[in-house]
Amino acid sequence: MTVDNKDRRLERIDRGIKVRSDGVYAISSWLEMSYLVAPRLIFILGLLAAPVLLLPVPYWQKVLSIICMYSLLAISFDFLANYVGLVSLGGGFYIGIGAYAAALLNMKFGLPPIVTIPAATVIGAIICTVVFLPCLPLRGVYFAIVSLMFPLLAARIIEALDIFGGTDGIVGVDGFSSPWIEQYVLILAVLIAVFFLRRMITEDVGLVFSGVKDNDQAVKASGINITRYKALGIFIASSLGCFGGAVLSHIYMWAGLSQFALDFSIIPIAATVIGGGGTLIGPVIGCLILVPVSELLRDFGTLRIAVYAIILTLFIVYKSEGIMVFASRKYEQFERWVSI
């Protein structure tokens, strides 16, 4: 039986348990506490247990590393786009800078990965921030286009000047001593990034960030330097990307032009759109879906890029809220029809 939608509408109401666990009643019973803790615990424990569960299939352990690497990038994209208001399409730039920095530190100075990764993260983030500094007054589409150009430009310049190994890249970078270190370094980085950023956006700094996003003139009028905050946002985001790049160059034992590739700019965006922008966990979920799909399609060559481009289009057009927003709505609210 079909009911005419003119006489009724869908009403969404918070679940009782959600309302109770919002306040001090959260600690009133195990049920409320587990309602709060369960989703987070599943996420954390699931990620921590993944390498052990994937032990029988070493190939998928490798994929897990890649997933985490993309997750870092996607988190940084989500943070920049939805909390600082800078849509950066140049994820490949962060990865490339981080990878080259780590590879150069390793090859030229013979430093071990435990030094090169943090060093490359900081140095890479500083380089990215300085390079993006002149573009920070831009906003919206203009910033997006400039940031899209940077990885392309970096790759072309390295190719044209034939520096850093030119088109061959830097070969012979040290690998990790065991695959466990490689995976847990990345997983811990993802967890720390997610929960650190989630905490940060509710602090004062986060408030200024969202002010910059929503109404930069008002922030300016309050005597706060917008450019400094945007630079800080870029620094945080690019340090995530550079960390991923540094680890990547040690995983592949190689740093090359393909680390500036469009893949690193597109997959994080697709993951953020699919997972749900503005949630910070959504991008990780998006990566958990997208990267395995693209691995399964590896036999089909470039078709996989076409596939995730289509998935991305469908999501952005028909389900732009993303999985995470949808899921948390279902988790926190129930729906009922009311007549009007």
Binding site: R139, G140, V141, A144, I145, L153, R156, T313
Partner: protein
């Protein structure tokens, strides 16, 4: 002399590449990042019509142009119309469609043998001591004809005037009974058709490859940004600026730097003057 002649040819090439992009952006404020994909599609369709279905060259060009326009219109009508007015979603959606088309073609169509289109007229001619083949001359001629036709179209015909009205003030155009979505579809169709014209004119100079799609997109974006998004005079002037700059770098620095010039010019323009040389966007909209 060589620099002058090839500079002009290169500049007109850039004009051809960018015309469709700037038309669509000018009318509907939609940055059509699938422009490069449409360009490759037009070339590929021409090849299919000619070599697989056995039409003659002229007819297959005609069919390819029509079908490219239809693809562009369909893309707007069925997908992009839903994200209209959300600039970032527009970019991501159109770029994703372009990516899907290009990489799909790389997987399913353009592989194995090389795909080439024959030049319209064989042979070459000497102009002031520089030998230029007819196809390159035709590029210049077609570029000028296309500019002329477009000018006639937007100043003389009712549809063209409606498009111009939309570009200048969408609300005022709406009050005059111009359907903004229909006009956007028309502009997409026209823009895709222009990408197709560029494709059939330029592809005979080389092979039909997927990479051309990305290059054309970068060039079109570069020209439009340097010239100011949505400004036609700006686009033409910027095309000449970048065109000559490219030829000069090729002559004095080496072919590797050709794309670098375009990218650097985008970044410099955006940082110094985001509305471009002739843009009319409000200063406040684009920077703080």
């Amino acid at each position: 002399m060589e620099i002058l002649i090839y500079g002009v040819i290169n500049s007109v090439t850039l004009v051809l590449m960018a015309l469709g992009f700037t038309l669509v952006y000018g009318v509907s404020r939609l940055p059509n990042f699938a422009h490069g994909a449409l360009y490759v599609v037009a070339g590929y369709l021409t090849w299919i019509f000619m070599n697989r279905l056995g039409f003659n060259y002229g007819l297959s060009i005609l069919f390819a142009l029509v079908s490219t326009s239809l693809i562009g219109a369909a893309m707007y009508q069925f997908v992009l119309i839903r994200v209209r007015g959300m600039p970032i979603s527009e970019i991501i959606a159109s770029y994703a469609i372009g990516l899907a088309i290009l990489e799909g073609l790389r997987w399913g169509g353009l592989k194995g043998s090389t795909f080439t289109l024959p030049p319209f007229i064989e042979g070459s001619i000497e102009i002031l001591g520089v030998s230029v083949d007819f196809q390159r001359l035709l590029v210049v001629v077609i570029g000028i004809i296309m500019l002329g036709l477009l000018w006639v179209f937007v100043t003389m015909t009712k549809l063209g005037l409606a498009l111009k009205g939309m570009a200048q003030d969408e609300r005022a155009a709406l009050t005059l009974g111009i359907d903004s979505d229909r006009m956007a579809v028309v502009s997409m169709a026209l823009g895709s058709g222009l990408a197709g014209v560029a494709a059939v004119t330029l592809f005979p100079l080389g092979n039909i490859v997927v990479e051309a799609g990305y290059n054309v997109l970068i060039m079109a974006v570069a020209v439009c940004i340097v010239g100011g998004l949505g400004s036609w005079t700006g686009a033409v002037l910027a095309a000449f600026l970048i065109g000559f700059a490219q030829i000069l770098t090729v002559v004095y620095l080496g072919a590797h730097f050709q794309v670098v010039v375009a990218l650097v010019s985008i970044i410099i323009t955006l940082v110094l003057r985001p509305s471009g040389l002739f843009g009319r966007q409000k200063e406040l909209e684009e920077r703080v």
